[in-house]
């Protein structure tokens, strides 16, 4: 690798978007070439300055309300349009009215019934074929909880970056004592804790922040036969990461990227006492 090639690939390297082999070639080149290494460091600090310095324009609460009401107006409009549509049907067949009661509407009904039956059969077949696993069902619940926590202005019951405030609060509300650690120094400051209800039981939700995005970490006691292999699910733009130790089940849910979530898990595990 020469300096020109290194310069061209530097952004991809910084963004960790290159393949392993190219990555290694660049690392090698940066070790050998002082100029490129300096340019890389300067570029890196520029990137951090953008990331930390550029203001993030959160949506004002009023906008959410405006959108929700405009969506409701939109569906309120729909049935009206259906009624407006119907006259064209009638005008196409003006002699419909008197003779109707015999043939046409019944065949319409029969058709509707057939469609309903077909839908029921398809639905049953589909649900049998794809029978979503427990995880998929849980994932739906987790995403809903995460989304709701951000939506309803109910992110935390106890807002504190101090693990010694959050943990006792949760301990008194739950029949288990979840591990709580602040990961500020690792780039995941603790925001607070919340009670939630998942998988038919009360669970602890720990809230962490990552560059203006939130991570909900749901924790509840592991059942004895819990599988411990970590698992990732990507759905609707959310990342879900599951792991378990001998005591607890963990599900981290967020819209941060998969790498960040993996880092989060590692940091969390390193900082929690092992059993």
């Amino acid at each position: 690798m020469n300096c020109e090639q290194c310069k061209n690939l530097m952004d991809g390297y910084l963004d960790r978007e290159l393949d392993l082999i190219t990555n290694q070639k660049i690392e090698q080149h940066l070790r050998d070439c002082r100029n490129c290494d300096q340019a890389y460091k300067a570029h890196g600090s520029l990137v951090r300055a953008i990331r930390d310095g550029a203001p993030y324009y959160k949506a004002p609460a009023k906008l959410r309300e405006r959108i929700q009401s405009s969506l409701r107006q939109e569906i309120a409009k729909k049935p009206v349009r259906n009624v407006e549509d119907s006259p064209s049907l009638f005008s196409a067949r003006p002699r419909w009215t008197r003779t109707v009661s015999f043939g046409t509407p019944w065949s319409g009904l029969a058709l509707a019934a057939a469609i309903v039956f077909a839908a029921i059969i398809t639905f049953n077949l589909m649900s049998r074929l794809q029978r979503p696993g427990n995880d998929q069902f849980l994932a739906t619940q987790l995403i809903a909880s995460h989304a709701r926590s951000l939506m309803a202005n109910h992110l935390t019951d106890v807002a504190s970056s101090d693990q010694h405030t959050v943990k006792p609060w949760l301990d008194t509300k739950l029949d288990f004592a979840p591990p709580v650690v602040d990961l500020s120094s690792e780039g995941f400051p603790l925001i607070g804790g919340r009670l939630d209800y998942l998988d038919n039981r009360p669970v602890a939700a720990l809230v962490y922040e990552r560059r203006k995005h939130f991570i909900n970490l749901f924790v509840w006691p592991a059942s004895s036969d819990a599988a411990t292999a970590p698992k990732t699910i990507t759905r609707q733009g959310y990342q879900l990461l599951h792991w378990a130790d001998s005591d607890f089940n963990y599900w981290a849910v967020s819209d941060v990227n998969a790498n960040d979530l993996q880092t989060f898990k590692q940091q969390f595990e390193t900082r929690t006492p092992h059993h």
Partner: protein, 214 residues
């Protein structure tokens, strides 16, 4: 012309309503049941749309705000984008809701940009005004400044739209090159070079700006 047609349609409708009510109550009942089902399915559709897409409101607003550089326009565009998204939600088959929404927000933003400020899209970065070459702002200089955020914002606002959006998508949403390619509708191979150009232009602006102050 249109109004007379409407009147006719209305008369036909009323006529039909009376006759069908007289002649066959079953039809009316069927219509009512059908309408209720439609209302219900619309509500269910709205609920699942809101569950899937509303969480990405901040991301949508942020992107629109950077593209339009104006709060009122940004809000209008985001509202319009949500309406568009809702109407085409049937065509969205799960997957990445944020990328899907941001694509719509981006398209809606560009429509407005093209309409209102054709200038903005065609203005390329003026090298003579903003300085060029390989001046390197020392990282220390950038990071030590207390008005860092203000300066970065100013610098980003001076970049062309395609650079503003790619920086916001990468650094604020933390999106992958693949997701950015999808949203900005460019080949994945172009993402890296566009990001590189955006960052270089930003650095040049900062260097020129700091040079001027000295």
């Amino acid at each position: 012309m249109a109004s007379s047609k409407n009147v006719m349609a209305l008369q036909l409708k009323e006529e039909h309503a009376c006759e069908s009510a007289d002649s066959d109550p079953k039809i009316v009942k069927f219509a009512i049941v059908k309408k209720r089902q439609e209302d219900h399915s619309l509500e269910v559709g709205l609920a699942s749309f809101e569950d899937a897409i509303l969480p990405h409101l901040d991301a949508a607003h942020n992107l629109a705000r950077w593209l339009l550089r104006n709060e009122q326009d940004a809000q209008d565009v985001v509202q319009e984008a949500y309406l568009r998204a809702f109407k085409s939600f049937a065509g969205f088959h799960g997957g990445n809701g944020r990328a899907w929404l941001l694509t719509i927000v981006r398209n809606t933003s560009y429509t407005l940009l093209k309409k209102n400020r054709a200038v903005d899209l065609t203005t390329t970065f003026d090298e003579e005004i903003h300085g060029s070459g390989d001046e390197v702002v020392s990282p220390v200089t950038i990071l030590e400044r207390s008005d860092n955020a203000e300066l970065i914002k100013e610098a980003m606002d001076h970049l062309p739209a395609e650079f503003r959006e790619i920086l916001a998508l990468r650094h604020q949403e933390g999106l992958s090159y693949k997701e950015i390619a999808e949203i900005a509708q460019i080949p994945p191979g172009t993402v890296m070079s566009r990001l590189a150009r955006a960052r270089t232009k930003l650095r040049e602006y900062l260097a020129a700006r700091m040079g001027k102050e000295k």
